[in-house]
């Protein structure tokens, strides 16, 4: 079974600064996908960024980027130029790839990191 670990229950960052959220995972699979989701107080899970394990290049989406270290099974999220609207819970998640034969494409989540952006 896959596990996802987020070791930072809470973090804070000054507005306009950069913050990095950590995530490690454990799997024996070689084909999988990793995600960071944001959950604001509205409770809806919003996809921030996605990384395919077969891609060596780190994914980037505007102010959000990841540092994907496949050998170390590490997948950290960097938020640059932090904004007040970035305040939320952030969840790291894992999904097995289609070639594994797992048909449900369910996500396995970490316990989350509560990020507070301070004005």
């Amino acid at each position: 079974a896959q596990t996802v670990t987020q070791s930072q229950p809470e973090m804070s960052v000054q507005e306009a600064e950069t913050v990095t959220l950590s995530c490690t995972y454990d799997t024996s699979e070689s084909n999988y996908y990793l995600f960071w989701y944001k959950q604001p107080p509205s409770r809806q899970m919003i996809l921030v960024i996605r990384q395919e394990a077969y891609k060596q290049q780190n994914a980037t989406e505007n102010r959000f980027s990841v540092n994907f270290q496949k050998a170390a099974k590490s997948f950290s999220l960097k938020i640059s130029d932090s904004q007040l609207g970035d305040t939320a819970m952030y969840f790291c998640a894992f999904m097995m790839g289609p070639s594994t034969g797992a048909g449900s494409y369910q996500l396995t989540f970490g316990k989350g990191t509560k990020l507070s952006v301070i004005p």
Partner: protein, 121 residues
């Protein structure tokens, strides 16, 4: 609809009562998922629907939990004889088809609803 709709938004029930939680997925999305988020925890997979069938029910915690989906659309999660440990946020997500990987476009991939917060007193 434009997004995944869940109702009720909040539900308070007495221990031992049955509850039904509803999920209305994005029109045309064939895959539907239920997750549970307990306080201070990440999301825990409950069940997956492809159309009206549920090929993966492995996350249902007990036989008090059941779910159905009709017409390839609306899904209902039923919890019988609720217990205090059932208190959680129940989130639903839908996806256009099996194998979609939660793409960044709101028109493609794994879209979550805002959940139902269930409190058992």
């Amino acid at each position: 609809g434009a997004g995944v709709s869940q109702s009720p938004s909040n539900k308070v029930t007495e221990k031992g009562k049955d509850v039904e939680l509803r999920c209305d997925p994005i029109s045309g999305h064939t895959a539907l998922y239920w997750y549970r988020q307990s306080l201070g925890q990440g999301l825990e997979f409950l069940i997956y629907f492809q159309g009206n069938s549920a090929p993966d029910k492995s996350g249902l915690p007990s036989d008090r939990f059941s779910a159905e989906r009709t017409g390839g659309s609306v899904s209902t999660l039923t919890i019988q004889r609720t217990q205090q440990e059932d208190s959680a946020v129940y989130l639903c997500a839908s996806s256009p088809q099996q194998g979609s990987l939660g793409g960044l476009s709101s028109n493609y991939g794994y879209t979550f609803g805002s959940g139902t917060r269930l409190t058992v007193v």
